[in-house]
């Protein structure tokens, strides 16, 4: 049992640092020994959400709630799933249940604040993050979320002050690193923003927000790659069905235009449209691998820097 508690603590710490793969290892070890640990299922669910493995996260959260419906963590886990699947009312309900179990939890308040923020209930979001920061003024997640709200309002100066304060406490806090990078980029300090993005990727090479930050930096630095990533963001920002419909829509538009042009005996235009389509296909094929290679090179260079 002692071992399990130790592993759980290690998993929670790893997750807080943004090192999700490490957290997986500890949690699957716990569940390999005791598959009825509700806390481990709940934490695993939250780790899976970070990796966008929503289906598996849902199963873990459900299992946690079945095992301990009166516990704090399973409700947080289910709420996280509901947020990820945009069932905001249900998420709110579960977060309120969690807060009725532990009313002084800054963690649950911070989650509730983030829920209200993405739900576009900015006033409620501000109220909740203020309470969360009062409950635990040293909590890095609360500080980062508060900073993010300020940044979203355009108050970059205060947002930067708070996030730097969070990083002074823990220079490896992933969300703070990324947020500071975003603020620096918005202020035009591209080099410092890039350092932050790479540092964050050193901690978790798959972190989506850190990758997104690096993409935004790349988009500023290289026109062609920037064009690709803007296109990529446009395609992937939304549901998978939307992405499929957009991709097939483009192909059908190309095919329909060539049929219409051929039917109207405009064969030279057909060749022109086909050439553009092929160039587009090659570009979308080649651009991501160039970007990935550049990214890997940059990550390797940073590995050698002792200052990190």
């Amino acid at each position: 049992m002692m071992n399990q508690e130790r592993l759980f603590k290690l998993a929670a710490d790893a997750l807080a640092r943004g090192q999700t793969d490490e957290a997986f290892d500890y949690l699957t070890q716990i569940l390999g020994e005791d598959s009825d640990s509700a806390e481990a299922h709940a934490l695993l669910s939250m780790a899976l959400i970070r990796k966008k493995r929503i289906y598996a996260a849902g199963i873990e959260a459900k299992r946690a709630l079945e095992l301990e419906p009166e516990s704090f963590f399973p409700h947080i886990a289910v709420a996280s799933i509901e947020i990820a699947t945009r069932n905001f009312s249900s998420a709110e309900k579960h977060l309120h249940v969690a807060l009725s179990i532990d009313p002084d939890s800054a963690f649950a308040r911070e989650k509730l604040a983030r829920l209200y923020f993405i739900w576009d209930k900015k006033k409620e979001a501000k109220e909740q993050i203020t309470i969360a920061c009062e409950l635990d003024p040293d909590d890095l997640d609360c500080m980062t979320t508060k900073s993010r709200f300020l940044y979203a309002e355009g108050d970059n100066k205060n947002a930067e002050l708070i996030v730097r304060e969070a990083l002074e406490t823990n220079p490896e806090h992933l969300d703070s690193l990324v947020l500071l990078g975003e603020i620096l980029l918005a202020n035009g300090d591209i080099e410092s923003a890039k350092e932050n993005a790479i540092w964050a990727l050193q901690l978790d090479p798959n972190d989506e927000s850190a990758l997104q930050l690096l993409v935004s930096i790349k988009a500023r630095q290289s026109f062609l790659l920037g064009l690709w990533w803007r296109f990529q963001t446009f395609i992937s920002s939304g549901s998978r069905t939307r992405a499929i419909v957009l991709l097939i829509g483009m192909f059908l538009l190309y095919r329909a235009s060539t049929i219409v042009l051929e039917e109207n005996k405009l064969s030279e235009w057909t060749s022109f449209v086909s050439a553009i389509w092929i160039a587009f296909c090659i570009y979308t094929w080649v651009a991501p691998s160039i970007f990935r290679r550049k990214l890997m090179n940059e990550l390797k260079q940073v590995e050698l820097k002792t200052s990190f």
Partner: protein, 157 residues
């Protein structure tokens, strides 16, 4: 006694592991070689990778074929009754292309997630490019020359 805890979406152990390819290859096979190669390849890959979605993948492959047949009958009826004519005939056949691509994308996304996990757990993929080239530049022309039934050709390619 502890055992390895398996998360619901993780690949199950499979004896066909050495034949796993990146699902981009069957996806490209749908575009370049045709349904005859892409769908069996997707289904085989699903088993080889030990995908927990393999029943869903089989269902999607069947839906692709059944949907194409249904659309072909519907279009045949619409053409025979002169409901569609002229340029609308080739344009209407794009619905079959759209359906096939849609299902191929669903299969691709379904397998991509499992494939990434499979790689994460040390799986080494086989290069699918040679198989794709053989299927597109040898398999497709050969099959095309052997099959004279237009209906069957529309289903297979």
């Amino acid at each position: 006694m502890s055992s390895k805890y398996l998360i619901a979406d993780e690949p199950r152990p499979s004896t066909l592991g050495q034949h796993v390819v990146n699902p981009q290859w069957p996806m490209l096979a749908q575009m370049l070689a045709g349904t005859w190669l892409a769908l069996p390849w997707f289904v085989f890959n699903s088993f080889a990778i030990g995908s927990p979605n393999r029943n869903k993948d089989i269902g999607l492959a069947i839906a692709s074929v059944a949907g194409s047949i249904a659309l072909l009958y519907a279009l045949d009826y619409l053409i025979a009754t002169n409901t569609i004519s002229g340029i609308w005939i080739p344009l209407s056949f794009l619905t079959i292309v759209a359906l096939r691509l849609y299902i191929a994308y669903l299969l691709f996304f379904s397998q991509s997630t499992v494939f990434e996990l499979w790689q994460y757990y040390g799986g080494v993929e086989k290069n699918g490019m040679i198989f794709l080239i053989l299927g597109s530049f040898l398999g497709r022309p050969f099959l095309s020359s052997q099959i004279t039934n237009d209906f069957l050709r529309l289903i297979l390619f």
